[in-house]
């Protein structure tokens, strides 16, 4: 058997699984998005409708779409609400996770007694199921029950029903996400830190560099490419946020993310499969745009460092 045929043989099982459960659903979703919604019957599709679903989503003219998530007096179309919420969430959570992740990575890196324990305690939140992460923050903020509801209300930061208020719910979801995923960011950054050539630090010491200078001129530029990859992973995750919103029982009506929009269209009062598919393709486009920006950044930064 030629090497070529052998390679295809080895790839076959993997790509068969991917074809059935990833490539095909992807293609099918894109196709579905061009067909009209039908609310009567068993949720089958209507006739070919071209880009009607997209136009209706973008112009907010789909009469069957779920009622505006947020306070109706805002008069903002559903899609814009979802887009704004998701982008804000992505920016804030990824920024917070990067900062905390860097601190975690430095804490995990040193060589000291008890390092194993410290590493365990840092990594643990990352391994916790999303539903439990949501449960924790739900129990903290439930009115009349949670420990943090009253103090924050007295300070005037949160309302009396934090889980049902958009601003409060958004903060809770963002903090919950940062709490859980900073450790993953920390792990990836740690991998970057450990691959930095230690000789460089010795040279820096000989030249009398301060701690800040060592960080600014050696650690940061060398870790930067890994940092970008880590941020790319997390941005992809953040743009698809859904689980934590449901699990904290903040809910899609309080903090509508883009994935929320798909689920609401699909399982809401009417099963609008065509529109749901169109919304999910729109998410993919937004994610794709972000990915391209990151990849451009990564390529440019590696070029400026003299890598291929």
């Amino acid at each position: 058997m030629s090497e070529q045929a052998y390679a295809y043989l080895l790839l076959a099982p993997g790509f068969l699984v991917l074809l059935l459960f990833a490539f095909w659903p992807l293609a099918s979703a894109i196709r579905t998005s061009f067909f009209a919604d039908i609310i009567t019957g068993s949720g089958r599709l209507g006739e070919f409708a071209g880009v009607t679903n997209y136009v209706q989503l973008l112009t907010n003219t789909n009469a069957l779409a779920p009622a505006p998530f947020l306070d109706p007096s805002f008069q903002i179309p559903v899609l814009q609400q979802a887009l704004f919420m998701t982008l804000l969430f992505a920016v804030l959570s990824v920024a917070g996770e990067t900062l905390l992740g860097f601190l975690y990575a430095m804490l995990m890196q040193g060589d000291y007694a008890g390092r194993k324990l410290v590493r365990l305690l840092i990594i643990l939140p990352w391994a916790i199921p999303i539903v439990i992460q949501g449960m924790i923050f739900f129990l903290m903020f439930r009115p009349g029950y949670g420990l943090l509801t009253e103090p924050l209300q007295q300070l005037g930061i949160f309302s009396s029903l934090p889980l049902n208020t958009t601003f409060d719910g958004f903060v809770i979801v963002t903090v919950a996400d940062i709490w859980k995923t900073s450790a993953f960011m920390g792990l990836l950054i740690l991998a970057g830190l450990e691959s930095v050539n230690q000789d460089l630090y010795e040279v820096a010491d000989v030249m009398g560099a301060s701690r800040w200078q060592r960080f600014r001129y050696i650690t940061f530029p060398l870790v930067f490419p890994v940092l970008m990859v880590a941020m790319l992973f997390r941005t992809m995750g953040a743009l698809r946020v859904y689980g934590i919103i449901e699990a904290t029982s903040v809910g899609c009506t309080t903090v509508p993310s883009m994935s929320c929009l798909v689920v609401e269209l699909m399982f809401g009062s009417a099963s609008l499969y065509g529109s749901a598919a169109a919304a999910s393709v729109l998410i993919a486009i937004v994610v794709g745009l972000f990915i391209s920006v990151y990849l451009l950044f990564i390529r440019r930064s590696s070029q400026s460092l003299g890598f291929a």
Partner: protein
């Protein structure tokens, strides 16, 4: 040395240590002087302090769960320190709902997806990492693109196919109700976690010198035998990393686990539904939910204890060298 520091020295000498207040000030002065002369000490103290703060933030939510689990049912305004240590909630969760079965379901999903992904992903990773063939770059790129799509996009057609509303691949209608069987969760999650696993394994397999494989071939091993007897053992750290990442992703996953299953343990519902099962139409036992949450964390906590070095070394050694 700065002027400030010199002033501190003076103050210390003038203080003379006659009463307690002065004494403490001079001790602070001595610390300050010591730290300024040996900045490492100051950094070490700062490091310990910051470490303490970070560990508190990462652990406090878990402690809170424990406090809630200790509280008697129906109690409101729970205080930070439990009034009594009452572990009955940890027994009740197994009595009131089949929580053990929910956990078994989740672990079953995690183990089967990991096994499938490692086996199938290893074959693909070997092809990508060690063989030359036409279409390699486009195929790798298709994996990359795939891993960028949100689960929501893939969910709709699979949901409909598993409920016999549309035929799979547009060709064949799936036989029985697949929805409500383990396959409805295992199959999509395998596809969803496969691309990252293939990337990690590709990197590790690519790093093994050709000579070792050639030697095994000369010894009379078949190609596939060389993969399982030489390449895979040598890439153990990579396989461990890919396996652990897959396992944790599946165990913590929400989207498919929540939407692709029914609500009861007998219908293969995972921990997600197990924790939510304490929420009935009339009452919600928060103490039981908290206890159940803590129990559900135990398997992954054990995994992290034993695998943390593997995770870190695996990521360092190759997962990111792309």
């Amino acid at each position: 040395m700065s002027i400030d520091a010199r002033n501190h020295d003076d103050a210390e000498q003038m203080g003379g240590g006659s009463d307690g207040d002065d004494d403490s000030r001079s001790r602070i002065g001595r610390w300050a002087k010591d730290w300024m002369e040996h900045p490492e000490k100051a950094y070490a103290v700062m490091g310990v302090f910051m470490g303490g703060v970070l560990l508190t933030t990462s652990l406090f939510p878990l402690y809170w769960l424990f406090v809630v689990a200790m509280a008697p049912p129906g109690q409101t305004n729970i205080s930070l320190i439990p009034a009594e240590i009452d572990l009955t909630a940890f027994v009740d969760i197994f009595v009131q709902v089949p929580f053990a079965r929910f956990m078994f379901n989740s672990l079953f999903y995690a183990f089967s997806v990991t096994a499938i992904v490692l086996l199938i992903g290893s074959l693909a990773g070997y092809a990508f990492g060690r063989l030359d063939f036409r279409g390699k770059t486009p195929l790798l790129f298709s994996l990359l693109v795939l891993s960028f799509f949100p689960p929501a996009t893939l969910f709709l057609p699979l949901f409909r196919a598993f409920n016999q509303q549309i035929p799979l691949l547009g060709i064949f209608t799936l036989p029985a109700e697949i929805y409500g069987t383990p396959g409805a969760v295992v199959a999509p999650l395998s596809a969803f976690t496969m691309p990252l696993a293939i990337f990690i394994l590709t990197t590790f397999y690519g790093q093994i010198p050709d000579g070792l494989e050639d030697a095994a071939r000369v010894e009379g091993t078949t190609r596939i035998g060389a993969l399982f007897r030489v390449i895979m053992p040598l890439s153990a750290p990579g396989i461990a990393t890919a396996g652990i990442l897959t396992f944790i992703t599946v165990y913590t996953e929400f989207f498919f686990s929540f939407l692709m299953t029914g609500d009861s343990a007998a219908e293969w519902a995972p921990v997600v539904n197990g924790v939510l099962a304490f929420q009935t139409q009339y009452t919600t036992r928060y103490d039981l939910q908290a206890a159940a949450s803590l129990v559900a964390i135990v398997p992954v906590a054990i995994l992290v204890v034993f695998a943390q070095e593997k995770i870190i070394s695996g990521l360092t050694q190759g997962a990111l060298k792309e």
